[in-house]
């Protein structure tokens, strides 16, 4: 009986994650300072990632206001997809530049004064307008913690930070319906499991009328645009503030939304 249990427990030790600490030393002893790949990094074993993914998925469904849980779900399930996205970025000249320069979008890095002075109809102006109307700020994105590769951690951070840009480009507000539409677009664009899950399970909490609108008009539009547009992670948004919004939309092949989602859901 004891040998049987030991046989079960030995693979459990493998869950302590990769090479590194000897069997006796608990996992975190390695990760203080020296083992961290980036400042907010928390190294996790396979078992921990599985538990986190399951727990965060459940908690996100239970309490939709736990945005941090959606973020954790993305980090723990996206490894393969992030690699594909990173390779896509490397192949594109603008994407490669982004990977090189690692721009970050936050209130401290954005020049708000300059953005406010931009002409009406420009992308920067529209973005500011979006932030004001929906009362959101680019600083609410939690930093990446559970991705065990420093470059991929940046890729997912970049994906999170351009989320608001996508709202602007698609003309979607931050109510539940708008978020689901953007998630469908992102799911088609990136293929991240978290986007796919949110897109599929997000509508659970919608009213029948909104659901009908979603299925008949908004989802087909979002999917079509997602397929047509090139990888949105390859756009260096910080260099395109002056570009007119319509021109940027045309470049990415994004059409006008089929109906106004403001005030719905």
């Amino acid at each position: 009986m004891a040998t049987l249990l030991r046989g079960v427990l030995r693979p459990l030790c493998a869950f302590r994650g990769g090479p590194g600490p000897p069997a006796g030393v608990p996992f975190r002893a390695v990760s203080h300072g020296t083992g961290l790949l980036y400042p907010e990094h928390i190294p996790t074993s396979v078992l921990q990632k599985v538990l986190l993914a399951a727990g965060s998925a459940g908690m996100a469904l239970y309490d939709p206001y736990r945005h941090d849980m959606v973020a954790v779900l993305g980090e723990t399930t996206g490894r393969r997809t992030l690699k594909v996205l990173r390779d896509q970025m490397k192949r594109d000249p603008e994407g490669a530049q982004i990977l090189q320069e690692r721009p970050r979008i936050s209130l401290s890095t954005l020049d708000m004064g300059k953005l406010r002075s931009l002409p009406e109809g420009s992308f920067g102006c529209a973005y500011l307008h979006f932030l004001d109307v929906n009362r959101v700020s680019p600083d609410t994105r939690a930093p990446t913690r559970f991705v065990d590769d420093e470059e991929l951690a940046y890729v997912i951070q970049r994906y999170r930070e351009i989320h608001d840009m996508l709202h602007t480009l698609l003309g979607m507000p931050t109510n539940i319906l708008g978020e689901i539409v953007v998630k469908w677009f992102e799911a088609v664009q990136t293929g991240l499991p978290m986007c796919v899950l949110s897109a599929l399970f997000g509508p659970i909490r919608l009213s029948a009328q909104s659901l009908q609108l979603l299925i008949s008009e908004l989802i087909p539009w979002a999917v079509e645009n997602g397929r047509r547009a090139p990888c949105v992670l390859n756009v260096y948004y910080e260099r395109r503030w002056e570009q007119p919004l319509q021109a940027l939309r045309q470049e990415l092949g994004i059409t006008e939304p089929p109906l106004c989602v403001e005030g719905l859901a």
């Binding site: 004891a2 249990l5 030991r6 427990l9 459990l12 030790c13 869950f15 006796g24 030393v25 608990p26 996992f27 975190r28 002893a29 203080h32 928390i42 074993s45 078992l47 921990q48 538990l51 986190l52 727990g55 965060s56 459940g58 908690m59 736990r66 941090d68 849980m69 954790v72 913690r145």
Partner: protein
């Protein structure tokens, strides 16, 4: 997994083994051995079984200014602040997380502590690091139940009451706790806040006081309390020896010191399972339920850092 350390305040017999380093454990084993001079005992002193407090052997280095914070090494000044931050952030979800992490078993442990304590009406209890009040509320329930039982016994024995006694009962002037009192002392304001909210919600008013204080420097006079408890708190104290000295000071002669704390698992199989549960599952629970991985990582590490109580000495 748990050990209750009881000692009369007259004989300081609290023994601590060397801090658990993985290589040394198999050699130091269960025996109390002063030969572990190679081990630094930050903040701990060994005490001789019969000597007065003044004749303690100081086996620590005077200049030791570093200590552990979980598995990290920090300076002693830093540790207090870091522990404060941990409990500040976990305070709101402290009770929920206790239930989740221990599957509700922590309630049994705390009940057992009370049964071990067996307070009687009139006991003066000091509950240090008592934050959210679990021990204090149990204490109040216990003495109240005792007092009620005593009153019922009295009534049965004495069928005829005098007019004064009847009048007193109608006026409810009697103290339902029989003079018992508990002071909940904690260094963390947030934990005390949660404790006070709980007391209000559950209707505990009499016999209860909430004091903000440091276990290493208690704001109480000497020889004041009958019982001193510290449940799952002592491992977070930077200088455990000072906390013990303070406990000795504020307890009356013949008073009792009760410490409820996590200990080591001796069974190797259970120990492996326990490690997996502690390090793999608990921080995940902390992240999912409370949105705080690091605090719960610290808590499980601090359990491992706490020296085990040796059974034979």
């Amino acid at each position: 997994m748990l050990r209750y350390v009881l000692s009369d305040s007259g004989h300081p017999t609290v023994k601590m083994a060397a801090p658990r380093s993985w290589a040394l454990w198999s050699f130091c084993g269960c025996g109390w051995s002063r030969a572990v001079s190679g081990c630094r005992l930050p903040g701990l002193r060994s005490s001789s079984p019969r000597g007065p407090l003044g004749a303690r052997l100081l086996s620590q280095e005077k200049e030791a200014t570093e200590t552990h914070f979980g598995f990290e090494t920090v300076s002693e000044e830093e540790k207090g602040g870091k522990v404060y931050q941990v409990f500040e952030s976990v305070a709101k979800k402290y009770d929920v997380m206790n239930d989740m992490m221990s599957l509700g078993i922590h309630r049994v442990w705390k009940d057992l502590l009370l049964w071990k304590m067996r307070p009687f009406p009139g006991t003066q209890l000091l509950d240090v690091a008592g934050g959210t009040g679990d021990i204090a509320f149990r204490f109040l329930n216990y003495v109240q139940a005792q007092h009620q039982r005593k009153q019922k016994r009295q009534l049965r024995a004495q069928q005829n009451l005098s007019w004064e006694e009847i009048a007193r009962k109608y006026q409810n002037e009697e103290d339902s706790l029989g003079g018992s009192h508990v002071m909940v002392c904690d260094i963390n304001k947030e934990m005390l806040k949660i404790g006070k909210q709980k007391a209000r919600a559950q209707g505990y008013k009499a016999g209860l006081a909430w004091i903000l204080g440091d276990a290493e420097e208690l704001p109480f006079d000497d020889n004041k309390f009958d019982v001193y408890t510290i449940a799952f708190g002592i491992r977070n104290v930077t200088h455990i020896d000072q906390a013990l000295q303070e406990a000795h000071r504020v307890l009356k002669p013949g008073g009792r010191f009760l410490c409820l704390e996590f200990s080591q698992v001796n069974n190797p199989l259970l120990s492996r399972l326990y490690d997996v549960y502690s390090f793999q599952v608990i921080p995940v629970l902390g992240e999912v339920i409370a949105g705080d991985w690091k605090s719960y990582q610290y808590l499980v590490e601090s359990i491992r850092q706490f020296p085990s109580v040796v059974s034979q000495f």
